[in-house]
Symmetry: C2
Subunit: 688 residues, 2 copies
C-alpha cells in the first residue's frame, strides 16, 4: 500500500481521533505518549524510553512512506513501491530500472532521487495553548486562517532559515492537542538498490492487499549530507534469521490518515458521497490508462507507475466501501458511539457535526475536483497533472507572496516555502501524452459531476471541450523545464502575469472560481468541523482519559503486534510464505511471472527461506516501509501492505482481521546476495 499525493493532501484533515479506549494491540501511538507498560504487558517485552528514542531516531519519513536507518552510513530500508516514482524518474524506456532492477556497482553509482527528501523526528514540544488561543472567539474562515497563521509563525520561529531542519505543527486528537514536530531534514536522497519491479510486485494488483504474499517489496535509499553519505550512528541492527511465529515486534512509521472517530453521520457522508465519487471516477481513469498503456511500449512504460498507484488507491477504497456496508462492523461502530455519548454531557458535538453534513455532501465534488485538500477523499486535482500542479504553485505562490506570511494560504507561509521550492525545482520527466490523459479525464469528470451548466464549469472550460483544452494546455506549456519554473518562481507575480505559457495563463484565469470553492468549503465545512471536533476531543479525554491515541496524521507513530497468521473466514493462513511458495504460485503469465533475474537465481535460493510474513500490528497507508523491529532493536522486516479486510481499520481496529504484510530482512538479504550481486550492501548491513 502506498500514500498517494492525494492521500498525503488528506493530512490537512477533517478527521477525528480514535474513539473508545484502545484494545490490546490497537493504536498508532505518538512517541511522547506511548504506553510502555501496557505494550510490555501485552507482549511480554521489556522496552523502555531508551528503546523508544533509538527507534524514533532510526525511523525515517520518506515521501509518503516510512523507512528505517540500517547502517551508520545513512543506508535506509524502505519498500520498492516507495521508490517506484524515483525509479520511474531515473529511467527511460531504453534504460528502464523497473525492468532490470537498480543495482549500482559502487556507492558512487547510487543516483539522486529527483525531489526526494527524508526526515527524522528529533523533537516534540507542546504548542496546544498557543494554537487554541489563536482561534479563540473566531468563526468560519477567520478561525481556520488564524490557526493556520499561528502554525506558520510557530514553525518559522523554530526552524526559520535552517535548511537542515523542518518544523511542523501537528494537529492531534482533532484539535485536542497541537504539537511542534522538529525534524532533521535530508534534501539529498540517493537510490541505493531496487529489485526488478516484478520481484517486488509479483501478483500485481491481484495480490495487492492480500496474504499469502510473495513480493520482495524492498529497496534501499541513502541519506546524503553535504554531498557525502550521512553519518548515522543510531540505526537498527540488521537481523536476517528466519523469523519465529509469535515473536513480538514494534512497527515504527508515519501512517497517513485514519478516521476512527468520525461520527455515524460523518461516516454516512463518506459512504454515500465521498467514496462513490472517488471510486467511480478513478475507475474510469483506470480504464483510460489501461487502454493508453496498451497502445505502445512507450505508453506502457509511461503509464506503469501511475496505474499501480491508482489501482492501489482504488482497491483500498473498495475495502473501505465494504467496511462501511458491513452491518456487523457498522453496528460495532454505532455501539461505540452510543457508549461515548452516554459518558458525555453538557456538550453535543454530534449534532453540530450532523449539521455540517449537508454542506459537505454539497461541496465535496467541487472542492475535491477544483481544489483538493478535502481531507476525506482521494480524487486528485487536475487528475494529478504535473504541469497543472506546478502552474498552480507558481501562480498562487506569486499571488500569495505579495502578502504578509500570516495572511497567505497556509501552504505558502514562510515556514513552508522551502518545501514548496524543493518540489517545484526538482528535475522530473513529464510525459505530454500522460498529462493529456489526466487533464482530459479531469475536465470531463468535473463537467459531469458539477454539471455542464454550473458557472464554475463554464469558467473552467469556456467554449472549449475537455479534449481541446487539455491538448492546448499541454502542447503549449514549457513548464516541464525546471529552469522555466525557477525563473517564474523567482520572477514573482510580475513574471507570472507576463508569462504567455498557456498553463500559467489558464491557472491565472481560474483563480476566482477555485479560490471561491475553497473559501466556501473552509467556511461551511472545515471551520465548523474543526470546532465541533475539538469539542469531541475534549469530551473523549473526559470520558476515557489518555488511554486513547490520536488518529493517524502522517506523522511518526509506534504500534506493536506479534508475528502471526489469521483464522477468520476468507482469511485463514499461517504467518509465513517462502521462496518455494513463490515458485509454486508462478504461472509465467503476468502478473504471476517471476522476474527474470530472480528466476535465474532460483537454484541458489533455499526454498524454505521466509519471504513475507503477517503481523498483527495496527498500520495503514503511509506505514509502507515501516521498520519492523524486535525489542532488541533488531530490524526483521519492512511493512509493505495489509489485507483487504484490514482496510476497515481506517474506521476502526479489529484485531481478528487486522494484519500487516511484511517483507523479511532474510528475503532482502537473499535478494541482495543471491540475485542482484549487491554483496557490498550485504557487508554494509553486517549480514554475513
Amino acid at each position: 500500500m502506498r500514500l498517494t499525493p492525494a492521500l498525503a493532501a488528506a493530512l490537512l484533515t477533517l478527521v477525528a481521533g480514535a474513539a473508545a479506549p484502545a484494545a490490546a494491540d490497537e493504536g498508532m501511538w505518538t512517541f511522547d505518549n506511548f504506553p510502555i507498560a501496557r505494550a510490555n504487558q501485552a507482549l511480554g517485552t521489556r522496552i523502555d524510553q531508551a528503546f523508544l528514542d533509538k527507534v524514533r531516531l532510526s525511523s525515517v519519513r520518506f515521501g509518503g512512506c516510512s523507512a528505517g536507518v540500517v547502517s551508520d552510513q545513512g543506508l535506509v530500508l524502505t519498500n520498492n513501491h516507495c521508490v517506484a516514482t524515483c525509479v520511474a524518474n531515473l529511467s527511460t524506456q531504453a534504460v528502464n530500472y523497473a525492468e532490470t532492477g537498480f543495482t549500482p556497482r559502487t556507492r558512487e553509482d547510487e543516483l539522486k532521487c529527483p525531489g526526494g527528501t527524508a526526515e527524522i523526528l528529533t523533537d516534540i514540544s507542546d504548542v496546544t495553548q498557543r494554537m487554541q488561543a489563536a482561534g479563540a472567539g473566531l468563526e468560519g474562515q477567520a478561525f481556520t486562517r488564524a490557526r493556520d497563521a499561528e502554525a506558520g509563525r510557530i514553525e518559522q520561529e523554530a526552524c526559520g532559515g535552517d535548511a537542515n531542519k523542518r518544523c511542523q505543527v501537528v494537529t492531534l486528537y482533532r484539535g485536542g492537542q497541537f504539537k511542534l514536530y522538529t525534524y532533521k531534514k535530508y534534501s539529498d536522497v540517493r537510490l541505493a538498490w531496487a529489485p526488478e519491479d516484478r520481484a517486488a510486485t509479483f501478483g500485481g494488483d491481484l495480490d495487492n492487499f492480500s496474504f499469502p504474499r510473495f513480493a520482495i517489496d524492498a529497496a534501499f535509499i541513502r541519506l546524503y549530507e553535504n554531498g557525502a553519505p550521512a553519518v548515522t550512528p543510531t540505526h537498527f541492527t540488521w537481523k536476517a534469521d528466519q523469523p519465529v511465529e509469535g515473536t513480538p515486534v514494534f512497527v515504527a512509521g508515519s501512517p497517513g490518515a485514519t478516521q476512527r472517530l468520525l461520527t455515524q453521520d460523518q461516516l454516512m457522508t463518506i459512504r454515500d458521497v465521498v467514496l462513490p465519487m472517488d471510486q467511480l471516477i478513478a475507475s474510469e481513469l483506470r480504464g483510460r490508462l489501461i487502454r493508453f498503456s496498451e497502445e505502445s511500449d512507450e505508453n506502457a512504460f509511461i503509464a506503469m507507475d501511475p496505474i499501480v498507484g491508482l489501482e492501489n488507491t482504488y482497491k483500498r477504497g473498495l475495502g473501505r466501501m465494504r467496511a462501511l456496508t458491513d452491518a456487523d462492523f457498522m453496528r460495532m461502530k454505532a455501539e461505540a458511539e452510543t457508549d461515548f455519548r452516554g459518558r458525555t454531557s453538557g456538550v453535543d458535538p454530534w449534532t453540530a457535526l450532523s449539521a455540517v453534513q449537508p454542506a459537505l455532501r454539497e461541496l465535496y465534488a467541487p472542492m475535491a475536483l477544483l481544489e483538493g485538500g478535502t481531507g476525506v477523499g482521494t480524487t486528485p486535482v487536475a487528475g494529478g497533472s504535473q504541469l497543472f500542479l506546478w502552474a498552480r504553485t507558481l501562480v498562487r505562490g506569486a499571488q500569495e507572496r505579495e502578502k504578509p506570511s500570516a495572511e497567505r494560504l497556509p501552504e505558502f507561509s514562510d515556514s513552508r516555502l522551502a518545501a514548496v521550492q524543493s518540489g517545484l525545482f526538482a528535475e522530473r520527466p513529464v510525459y505530454p501524452s500522460l498529462e493529456q490523459v489526466r487533464l482530459e479525464w479531469w475536465l470531463s469528470k468535473t463537467r459531469e459531476w458539477l454539471t455542464v451548466d454550473d458557472p464554475r464549469v463554464r469558467g473552467l472550460l469556456g467554449s472549449e471541450s475537455p479534449e481541446q483544452l487539455s491538448q492546448r494546455l499541454v502542447a503549449g506549456s514549457t513548464l516541464a523545464d525546471p529552469a522555466v519554473r525557477r525563473a517564474l518562481w523567482e520572477g514573482g507575480l510580475a513574471a507570472v502575469e507576463a508569462s504567455q505559457d498557456p498553463m500559467i495563463r489558464y491557472l491565472l484565469s481560474i483563480q476566482d472560481e477555485t479560490r471561491a470553492v475553497r473559501s466556501d468549503w473552509e467556511t461551511r465545512v472545515q471551520a465548523p468541523t474543526d470546532r465541533a471536533s475539538e469539542q469531541l476531543a475534549a469530551a473523549r479525554f473526559a470520558a476515557y482519559g489518555d488511554a486513547v491515541y490520536p488518529d493517524a496524521t502522517g506523522t511518526l507513530r509506534l504500534t506493536w503486534g506479534k508475528i502471526e497468521g489469521s483464522d477468520v473466514p476468507g482469511q485463514r493462513w499461517g504467518p509465513f510464505t517462502t521462496f518455494g511458495g513463490l515458485w509454486d504460485r508462478a504461472t509465467g503469465a503476468a502478473p504471476f511471472d517471476v522476474a527474470p533475474k530472480l528466476l535465474a537465481a532460483r537454484g541458489r535460493i533455499d526454498p524454505a527461506t521466509v519471504l513475507n510474513m503477517a503481523v498483527s500490528s495496527d498500520t495503514i497507508g503511509g506505514s509502507s516501509g515501516s521498520p519492523v523491529v524486535t525489542e532488541a532493536g533488531e530490524i526483521v522486516g519492512a511493512n509493505f501492505d495489509s489485507t483487504v479486510l484490514t482496510q476497515r481499520n481506517a474506521y476502526g481496529y479489529d484485531r481478528n482481521v487486522n494484519r500487516s504484510v511484511i517483507v523479511t530482512t532474510g528475503a532482502v538479504t537473499t535478494a541482495l546476495r543471491d540475485v542482484y550481486g549487491m554483496q557490498r550492501l550485504v557487508e554494509e548491513l553486517g549480514a554475513e
Copy 2:
C-alpha cells in the same frame, strides 16, 4: 433512456410489484386492469374501453423500446436512440448514417434493420392457475424449472409453429398473476428515417436525463409483411400543433423493469452490492472505450453506439444510487413497508426475503459476470461481446436441444427457438477491435471481483492472461459470418463439438463453471425469492385490493399525466423548449454543436416551435419511443427520456419530481419537412 440488452435480460426478474395503492398519476398499468374511471377523474378525460383497444393495437414493442403506428401503411414513430444500433449496423465508416441522417428518397430505399423485430399485443389471457399449479410442492431449482417448463408449454400450445405470432407468459405482481400475452409479430422492420445523430443527441451524455432539453430524438421504422409494407388501419392520428400546458396525455409503452416492492433488505443489497459493482466496472469500461475511440476515426465510429449505451446505463445507475442514499426518499420507502406489514398477518415473506440476502450478496458477482440474467443488475456478460454471445447460444442451444423441451434451460424451450434463431442469423457487423476491448475488460474484471484464486476464474482463464485469451478468441473466430452460425446451429451438437472455432471451443470448455453458477443462483436466490415474493404479492392483494399495479416487466403498459413543468429544487422549469432555445444553447463544441443539416435549416424553422416537453407520466427505461397520445387518440410526441431525479422511480414514484421527456410531433414534422427533405413522410402522416 434506453433499454440495454443487459437490462432486457433483467426482465427475467427477481423484482416485486408496486407497494401501497397508487398515488394520483402513478402506475404503469396493464391494459386488462386499467383504472379507466380513476384516470378520467384525475385528468378530466372521458376515455373508454374502445380507446384502450385502439391504443393497444397502435402500440409497438421494438427491441427494448416502444413505438407507435402512425399511418395505415405500417409507419411507426420511435426514438432515434432506439434505431441507433440499426443505424450503426447499416453504416460503414464511409457511409455513416449517424453522421448524415438516414433519408431514403423513396419507400423502396428504406432499409431492413438486421435482426429487427416488432410486436403488437393482440391478446391477454389468464394462466395463473396453470403456472401456480406447476410449481406447487416444489423447492429450489426444481420449482424454478417446473414453472419455466410450464410457461414454455403454454407458449408452444398457443403459438407453436406460427411465425407471425409470438406468445409470452408474463409474470405479474411477482407471481401474483401470470398472463399469456399474444403478439402479432413483424420480423421485417425497415428504417424509414433517422435524423443526424447529433440532432437527436444534442448535449450528449451531459444533457441525457435532464430537462430543459433540445433533442430531436425521433425516427421512423416501417413494419413489413410478406415483403410489403404492413397494412395497419388502426393507428394514431398525427397531430403536430403546438402543445398546450396542462393537456392530459396517455403514454403507452413497454417499460423495462421497476423494483418498487423490493423490501428494505432487498434494496440494501442493491445499494451495497449490486449498484456499486455494476457502476464501478462500467466506469472502467467507459474509460477504456473513450480512449479506444480517440485512437482513430475508425475506432470512434465503432465505439460510438456502445459508448452512448454504456453512458446511459451508467448515468441511470448514478440516479439510482442517489435515490438509495437519499434519507428522505428511503424514509418514505421504509414507512410504506411499515404500513404494509401492519396490514399483514399470518405470513412473513419479509423474513424469508431477508434470509436470501446473504446468498444474493455472495452470488451476485459470479452470477452477473459469468452468467447474466440476475434480474437486478446491469453488468453485461462477457462485456457484451457479440461473438461470445453467439457462441454461447450455439453451444447451449445444441446441448439443450438434445433434451425434451420441458427439461431445457427455458430460453431454449420450443416456444422460444424462433426468436433465438432470428437473433442468431441476423446479419450484423462485428468489429474485432471492439470485441477485444469488451472481452479483455470482462475477463480482467471477473478475475478481479471473484479473485484470482477462485477455481471458476482458473477455469475461465487457464494459464492465459485476459489480454492473451481475448486476443486469441477474437482473432481465430469465424462466427462473424452468419453462414457459419447457421451451419453450426443446424448441425446441432455434433457440429458444435466438432468445431475448431476457438470461441466455440472456449464456450464448450466453460459450461461446467457457468452452469454451476446459474444452478447455485436458481437454488439459493431465485427460487426462494420467487416463493417469498409470491407470498408478498398475495399479502399485497389482501391489503390493498387491485388498486395496485404490477412492477414493470418489459410488457405493454399505459400510464398518464399532464404536460407540465417542474418546481422542485434542482428542477425548476416550464414544460416546453423550442428550436430557439436550441440555437441559444449551442456552443459549437461537441456535444453542444448543432448537427450540420439542422443548422443549415435554421432560417426555415420558426424558433417558437416547441421541440421537447415534459410530462408527469410514470415511465422508465424501455418506455423510450412510447407514443404520447391525447384522449382523442392523437399522437403529440414520443417519450425519449426522463430526468436524473426521476431515476428513483425504479424504487418508488414521486409525483413531484417524476417527469418524462418528450419529443413533440411538431418538432418531428419540422425536421422532416424543413431539414431532411422527407416531404413524402409528411404527406403519409397527413401532417399538411
